[in-house]
Amino acid sequence: MRVLTGSLNQQTQQFATELGLIPVPSWVQDTFNSYLVCEFTTIKNGRPVTLPLLPFYLPDTGRLVVTSSILFSRKIEHMRENPKVSMLFSNPEGTKSGKHVVLVQGTATTEDADLDHGWEKYLSYWRKKEPYIDAYLAEREKFGWFWKRVVVQVEPKRITAWWNGDTTRAPEVFGA
């Protein structure tokens, strides 16, 4: 299921439902766009494995994307065995956003047909969150395998959001 953001009037919700999108308020979208890291969880042998990753939000499809170097590709192996993943947006450090906490649970698909260049279409998103990335790219040969990267797209199934990050209170839940 994809994500639609904006106001949640009845017409918007109906439109979202017809397109198979998950309607969420704008503060959730702002969180996706601005938080520099998310806590990404895969499942290995029935147990969670959570690591910080740099997330990108694709507003046109409602999907979320991360990329992974083959150096750190165990999570890719996990996703191929079990595509159920989650992405927690909990840390507003380095942003001017509010302290919201948003959990996306969804299904991951991995793409490694072009390890050298397939991920480059997300460079503009990467640059917004890490403006210095071009300096590292200029030394691409120095970190050759770091720049061999698998693209992971996550299609949200359920979004659980705590306004102002207060997880002692009941969250808003969007989607299935």
Partner: protein, 132 residues
């Protein structure tokens, strides 16, 4: 019982507790934590998930420092796998395994060199499909 540096573990703002929900998806939530003098890790009970007594979980402690011109530095995390037990209104984490990285201890280039075998393994697995 993993060897945990409790001084470093105390130096995070909050914890992220993750378990697997009834639908089979990972479920993560933030919570506050404290370390007791006898080295117990106590987590505040989040409202969700509701059943955490005796659950297999992982708890991530993660830190970045934002850079005023954009991006971040000072990356470090500690990831503990274990079981949670309800005790006096808190959750006590009984740790079983630890994974961690602190770029001030192991620089990013050194880290990349250390995990090179995983990269080689990935490429080796690709090779048969390339040759097919």
């Amino acid at each position: 019982m993993p060897k945990i540096d409790y001084t470093r573990l105390a130096n995070f703002q909050y914890a992220i507790l993750t378990t697997i929900d009834d639908d089979g998806y990972p479920f993560s939530v933030t919570t506050n934590y404290q370390l007791t003098p006898d080295k117990r890790i106590l987590l505040d009970k989040p409202i969700l998930p509701s059943r955490l007594d005796g659950k297999k979980v992982n708890v991530l402690f993660n830190h970045i420092t934002g850079i005023p011109t954009g991006g971040y530095t000072d990356r470090r995390y500690m990831l503990l796998w274990g079981t949670t037990h309800e005790e006096r209104g808190k959750l006590r984490l009984e740790p079983e395994r630890l994974s961690e990285w602190d770029e001030k201890i192991l620089s990013f280039p050194e880290y990349c060199a250390k995990v090179a075998p995983q990269g080689a393994k990935y490429l080796q697995k690709l090779q048969p499909s390339v040759e097919a």
